[in-house]
């Protein structure tokens, strides 16, 4: 379980203090689909990077299984990201010189998961294109490869930062459905500005000006 306690992320811009996140208290429960909703610039991506250990809070604590994440060394935090977390970023970042299958395998380099990666691509409808390179795939296909990469090895938490932003609505919905369907017992934390992408969410928090301004139990309650 990931817990944020009074977490803030502050930075200076031309001598002015700006809060990307301010005194946020939040828990990510095992197995849940947590949606983080907010307009552009509201601080939702910053919160996602704080929760995943990619950014260090200026105040407050992020705990993973009860231990302060930022008391750990950089190497230990990297190990946690590599072994327990999965990531889908806004842009479908893939390594151009690797095939789709090799790009998926990048997420778990320590053991041979070729078979699992092949199955994952197959389940995401890319079985035929596993050996194609990114420039031979459409935007939607590339993002599906990113989804496969994030899901490989059944991570405990998948962090998705606006994974539908570079896709049309239909493809975007398909990617979210795939993420939700194949995450297994793992949690899914997804940031978006589009509420319709959070139809499958168990819980949605709304962020504005770096603060949580609302929380609801799934889209039906909102």
């Amino acid at each position: 379980m990931i817990v944020a306690r009074s977490v803030s992320l502050r930075y200076e811009d031309h001598g002015r203090e700006i809060y990307a996140c301010r005194e946020i208290d939040l828990s990510v429960h095992p197995g849940e689909f947590l949606g983080i909703l907010g307009p552009s610039g509201s601080g939702k991506s910053s919160l996602l990077y704080l929760l995943s250990g990619l950014k260090t809070p200026t105040e407050g604590v992020i705990e993973v299984d009860g231990a302060n994440l930022h008391r750990r060394t950089e190497v230990e935090r990297a190990q946690i990201r590599l072994q327990r977390f999965g990531f889908v970023f806004q842009s479908p970042y893939l390594l151009g010189y690797l095939s789709a299958l090799e790009n998926v395998l990048v997420a778990r380099p320590e053991v041979d998961r070729r078979r699992e990666a092949t199955e994952m691509l197959d389940r995401l409808g890319l079985g035929e294109k596993a050996h194609r390179h990114p420039h031979e795939l459409s935007g939607g296909e590339r993002q599906r490869v990113c989804v496969a990469r994030a899901l490989l090895g059944s991570p405990e938490v998948v962090f998705a930062d606006e994974p539908t932003a570079s896709l049309d609505h239909t493809n975007g919905l398909a990617v979210v459905e795939l993420l939700n369907a194949f995450r297994g017992a793992g949690s899914l934390v997804m940031v978006t500005h589009d509420r319709s992408m959070l139809n499958g969410a168990d819980r949605i928090i709304t962020i504005s000006d770096g603060q949580i301004v609302g929380e609801s139990r799934g889209p039906a309650d909102s």
Binding site: A78, S91, E102
Partner: protein, 373 residues
Amino acid sequence: MTFLARNASKTVPLTLVLILAVLLVFGIVSLINSIPLSIRTIYGAVRFAGFIDPRGDPAEIEKLKKIAETESPVPIQPIFPVRVSSIMVRSLVGKWDFVILAMDAPQVPAYLERVGAADLQGRLPRPGQPEMIISDPIARNLGLKLGDLVLSPDNSEAYSPNPVRVVGILPTQEWIMVADREYYRKHHLPPVDVLVIMTQDPAKQAQFDVWAKERFSGLRARVTSYTEIRKQSDESFEVLYKILNVVIGMLVLVVTIMMGMLMNIYQGQRLQEFALLQALGYTKSTLLRRVLQESALVVVLGWLLGVLVSLGILSILKASLFDPRAFSMHLLDARALAYTLPIPIAIFGAAWLTVWLRFRAFDPVGIVDRRIV
């Protein structure tokens, strides 16, 4: 390593620059080294004997001979006189004087045995006749074969009052020209002999040479020995090698800066890759190690290929230009090889520094968080 294999457009130019740099350095140093090597090779036969001449005064000969016979620190063979004249031989940097030894017929077999040139194609010069034996490198250098004229009245670079012909060729790598002393006494000036002194044990010739240099100093005598020739050639090339060091140093610096810039550009193009991998959980040290392994591979590959290409080109040059004229050149010149080593080391150092500086202040989120909408 997959990156290198699948990015030939980046790997090949880097490797090519390295190959060219190594080729340039290896080629320059090998060719320059071939000059002192040629000197040592051309005059190499001198190492089998010491030569003392009385600086034009025949009256000094007996005195010098007696000193050598009675005071030599190592046992010597019977001393014998030779007459000398010179001929111009071709070298990589122009024409050089080469000494013809004219000795009495009974001395010739012993001398040839001493220099390891006992086999002979043809025959020895007959007493009093304008005849000469030459070794294979001389034959190649001057384009001579049995029966050809080697000295003639109308050749200022190879003069004798009568036409002198080649009657024997020695199949050895030593540079040797031996004529008949009786013929020289009748037809060549100056009428002064030079003493040839060979130690009984060939391994002690250098010891005798050093002694002779010291003992005959201040007397009307000039000692010619291989030790002295080698020392003079080393001294005369000392300044050239200093200049070479500066040139190679500048070349290494320029190539390193150029390669450093190229690597910086290529690594800059991979920032997105590094950001993604770091965000996924690869540590900076893992990525740094990966990049450095790739750089090391390119550098080692480029250096090895550079050495191989250099050897190939120098082999062609040696076969087509050097060997036909008996010019000397070591193909796998250790000094030339050593001069190429700073290139890969400096380039790897530059690559390491470039990547380290880039990784030091690297924030992966700044790259993966770029907004598209």
